[in-house]
């Protein structure tokens, strides 16, 4: 992928370069999707398309191997949209614009690299590449207790990646493979069950930290609250998806027996995440905290659906990643812009903004409604797919979990409407607010683009659903049909 070409020449026309670069990426991502669909329609049923592989560390058989399937295609598209809109959202960022964008680009390289890799080690490397810039972006350009948040975020995610590297090496070692390539290891499928059971938690929790798995989610509220707007967007929108994607692609795909046998433990944790995040969001007073907890709830839903181990549910999980990425980016964009103007994010001091900054307020309402799963927006599609898919498990345990998770749609409505009612409606509490100006053109572009995507996915979901569903089918087939291997 053509990623490296444009961060080298950062000069005074940073903005120009960013726009060209981001548009190029968006264009490429769209082109990739179209080409992908064409190849699929042409009858190409390979697991991965556009594969390419170069060995770069022979002793450990580490290759730079890339390829995409339906899931990674939509994830790349999502990342491209977020990077594109994030560029516009940080248009007016002041100090050290160049450095900021440099790290921003590095972050997105990590993200793209992660989604296209099919080699465990390369994947891990890109994962780290995506994490490190986050520390600087939050620590330098953040707000509030930024050093604390940045440190906390980085340490917790690094803790996660320590678990990950153990798990990855264990998979490599115990499978006896001569490659780190994910699909080849999966095809071998010769890791003994008891080993799988030991290392499944390592990898699942390792990625789960990033996917805000309860109780490892506490970096998320602080991190989001301190991060600058575009970073929050990219982080909640894309980076948290790395967690879900990794859980599925490595933990569950490579350790299928453990995934089946241990799913109940994590199912309980994720059900907790879903409800817990939603309930916590009800009493927060900082807009970003509310949205961060909401993200915990929604990302919990992703992991929850993955663990349901049915094709529909996992399709729903990927849709939810897509939809949550877009919605939450929209949300953070709105919050960032409101904060930038009003100077506070505390719901107690805001009010009546609908009249003063109608564009941002309407966008906020749209984001809110999308978040609470209104039909016509992407959230509804994803949630319904998840619930129908989860219900395909006929036993009581899965039923109860599903019903508990369903209650989150009510709680979500509670916290969203509470905020909308408080900050946008009613009387204006502070006369200073009358001086606020509405969104500028770059902000309108960012928000409009996101709303367009959210509504588009919500109204015509079948296209994406088919892409994802086709990609999920062989993977879930592998996970479910893998006959357990006798212990050594």
């Amino acid at each position: 992928m053509l990623l490296g070409l444009w961060f080298a020449k950062n000069d005074n026309q940073v903005r120009g370069v960013m726009v060209v670069g981001a548009s190029a990426i968006l264009g490429l991502a769209i082109w990739l999707t179209v080409a992908f669909v064409q190849m699929r329609n042409a009858g190409n049923t390979d697991l991965m398309l556009f594969t390419y592989s170069v060995p770069w560390f022979a002793p450990l058989n580490i290759c730079y191997s890339v390829g995409v399937d339906g899931i990674s295609v939509v994830m790349i598209l999502l990342s491209a949209v977020i990077v594109f809109t994030g560029t516009f959202a940080s248009w007016q960022l002041e100090p050290m614009k160049k450095e900021y964008f440099l790290w921003f680009v590095l972050l997105s390289i990590g993200v793209f690299g992660f989604f296209i890799s099919t080699d465990m080690f390369t994947m891990f490397m890109f994962y780290e590449v995506a994490l490190i810039p986050m520390y600087l972006l939050i620590g330098v350009w953040g707000t509030g207790a930024k050093e604390y948040s940045a440190m906390k975020l980085t340490l917790m995610l690094m803790g996660g990646s320590a678990l990950l590297i153990i798990g990855i090496l264990a998979i490599y070692y115990f499978s006896g493979a001569t490659t780190m390539e994910v699909n080849e290891i999966a095809a071998l499928h010769n890791i003994p069950v008891h080993i799988q059971k030991i290392f499944f938690p390592f990898i699942f929790i390792g990625f789960g930290v990033l996917g805000a798995l309860f109780p490892f989610h506490t970096w998320s509220p602080d991190g989001h609250a301190s991060a600058p707007t575009a970073v929050s967007m990219l982080h909640a929108g894309v980076l948290m998806k790395l967690g879900g994607y990794g859980c599925f692609r490595i933990a569950m795909y490579l350790l299928p027996d453990a995934a089946q046998q241990l799913s109940w433990v994590f199912l309980i944790l994720t059900t907790c995440s879903v409800v817990y995040g939603a309930l916590s969001a009800c009493v927060q007073t900082d807009l970003k905290y509310i949205n961060a907890y909401s993200s915990v709830s929604h990302c919990g839903m992703v992991l929850f659906a993955l663990l349901m181990l049915t094709r529909t549910a996992i399709t729903g999980a990927v849709l939810q990643m897509l939809s949550h990425g877009l919605m939450t980016a929209l949300f953070f964009a709105c919050i960032g812009m409101i904060y930038h103007r009003a100077g506070t994010r505390d719901v107690r001091y805001l009010g009546g903004l609908m009249k003063i900054i109608p564009f941002l307020s309407v966008s906020y309402v749209v984001a809110g409604l999308a978040n609470l799963g209104l039909p016509g927006f992407s959230g509804f599609v994803a949630e319904m797919t998840i619930f129908v898919g989860s219900f395909e498990n006929g036993d009581t345990f899965h039923r109860v979990c599903t019903i508990i998770a369903c209650t989150s749609i009510v709680v979500t409505a509670v916290y969203i409407l509470r905020v909308v009612g408080k900050i946008l409606y009613q009387k204006v509490p502070n006369p200073e607010f009358y001086k606020l100006h509405d969104a500028t053109w770059d902000e309108r572009l960012a928000i409009g683009g996101l709303i367009f995507c959210v509504a588009g996915l919500g109204m015509f979901p079948l296209f994406f659903q088919n892409i994802i569903s086709e990609a999920v089918a062989p993977l879930i087939g592998h996970i479910l049909n893998a006959a357990p291997i006798a212990a050594l």
């Binding site: 506490t218 319904m384 619930f387 219900f391 409407l417 569903s469």
Partner: protein, 662 residues
Amino acid sequence: MEYSYSFLILLLPFLSFLVLGLCGMKMKEKVAFGIGTTVLGVLWCLSLYTAYEYFFAVGRDAAGLYPTVTAFNLTWLDFGKAPLFGTELIFNIGFRLTPISVMMLVVITTVSFMVHIYSLGYMAERDEEYRVEGYEKGFQRFYAFLSLFTMSMLGLVVATNIFQMYLFWELVGVCSYLLIGFYYPKHAAVHASKKAFIVTRFADLFFLIGILFYSYYVGTFNFDLNADPTIANRLPMAVNILPVALFLMFIGGAGKSAMFPLHIWLPDAMEGPTPVSALIHAATMVVAGVFQVASLMPIWLKYAPNTLHYVAYIAAFTAFYAAAVACTQRDIKRGLAFSTISQIAYMLVALGVCSAVEGEGSVGYMASMFHLFTHAMFKALLFLCSGAIIVIIGSNFKDYMGGLHKYMPITNWCFFFACLCISGIPPFSGFFSKDEIVAACFHFSPFLGWFMTLVSGMTAFYMFRLYYVIFWGKSYYEADPENRRKPQEVPAIMWGPLVFLCIVGCLCGLIPFGHFVSLDGHAEDIAIQTFAIWTWPSVAWVSIVVAIIGIGLATWMYKSGENPVPDMLKRRMPKLHEAALQRFYIDDAWQFFTHKIVFGLFSKPIAWFDRRVIDGTFNFLAWGTQTAGETIRPWQSGDVRQYAAWFITGTVALTLVLLCIL
């Protein structure tokens, strides 16, 4: 293809919403009105034409039934194979015509069209008032939401499957939210809109779970189980679970249709503009629950006939409760809202007493749909009348009214006829529909029959109480004519729709309704309608007498405005009066539940737990690492003597240990 224009019925209002929503603010108000109303006019014509096509031009098929027509059905989402049966679970968006959905098309577009016209006058007057308080005008926004609502409601009634119904169900919910909160600078409006959305959302949760159960055990989202021949093989598994699934769906319907104890949002929803109350909270959206139960009626009767009767009991209690509360309300719109709850409960009672018995068992179904139709007309009329009064008076409270018959003759007559309709005086429409409901109840059990008759007496009483305190009695204006605004008749753009609805509302009882809508769809049902009235003339006489007693009582107590009885009753039974005025404290119970239990017992502790315990643990870990680091740092002091001392100590210790072991 037949009805090939039908996609327009959904597309046009949606386009109108987009146009008004995106560029409405740049339009003149009249233009926005023009777009919204023209679209609705076209829709109205299309619906009437559809009804004509459906009932008359095409008519019954060879079996003597009105066929179910699916004009189009597009795959919207594909959930793959259902696990139990291997059938495809597909989420379609389509357009399905059955007798009741055609009827609903006519109801929705008629009321909506009238409301569109009426709103031009209403919103202009009302905006005048709100501008004084510095509120934003929102004419274009208003019409955009109305269009969106119309689209969603139409999508709901033509749903080809239960999931499509759920989708549009949520959409009408959000339209209702947006419209109740229309005057958003007002605290009460915001609060009411939030409440409405959350309460209905809570109910929808059960609806959703019901759908999940249904789809799992039946393997389809479709309403019509007979359409699929393989279905018979799967149903044995579903027999035990279907009553549960259906009842869960009914809870969703009960939320929308404001059944006890989920009714609390509807009275507060009156904070919205009055035309909205007429359209959404009286005529169309709130009957969605009734429509849902009616759509599923064949399944109810076949698989859950006993559970169905619980619907009747809940609804009967609601009817009584709401009628009791309506007798004391001071806000005229809230009074009407409780009356709506009570009347919707009538419809659900009628559905609940249905049984699979040939002929008699299905009277309730027909009666319910009939009442839905007539109620939509006269209740919309009542609300629009009250809107006219509110515009003139500038308040919702009855204390500022009285004696208006002199000043607002047209509104007066319209309101009067609407009251006669709802009280059940022949030959006005309410008589026919309500009487069939009561007859169906008598057929089910005499107790329920008498109970509903009593409630209909209460209905007559509270409606005429409202009528007298508004239009007769002591005039607020005349008490101090110098300083108070003189009431006058509303402009023609407002009374036009009133008169139209009044005529329709009064006469629609004469439609031989059973001919068009009945449970099994057979033509024999011309007899059913007469059967209800003439087979049991006693029922008809009893209810007429009860209604007249109710009206008489109201006349005696409130006509002059000087009768001491109401005050005396209030003093005699202060507790009861206060309780009824406070809606028997159900709202407070819910308030307690949400604030104290959900927020206090769950949310706050969880937030605390998150910050203190979980976060604390991680911070503690970080602190522990740091402290440990600090502690062992002196060990790396770079001091050679210290190292040497430790080295020697270590060597000695190790030697000793080795010696001991050896």
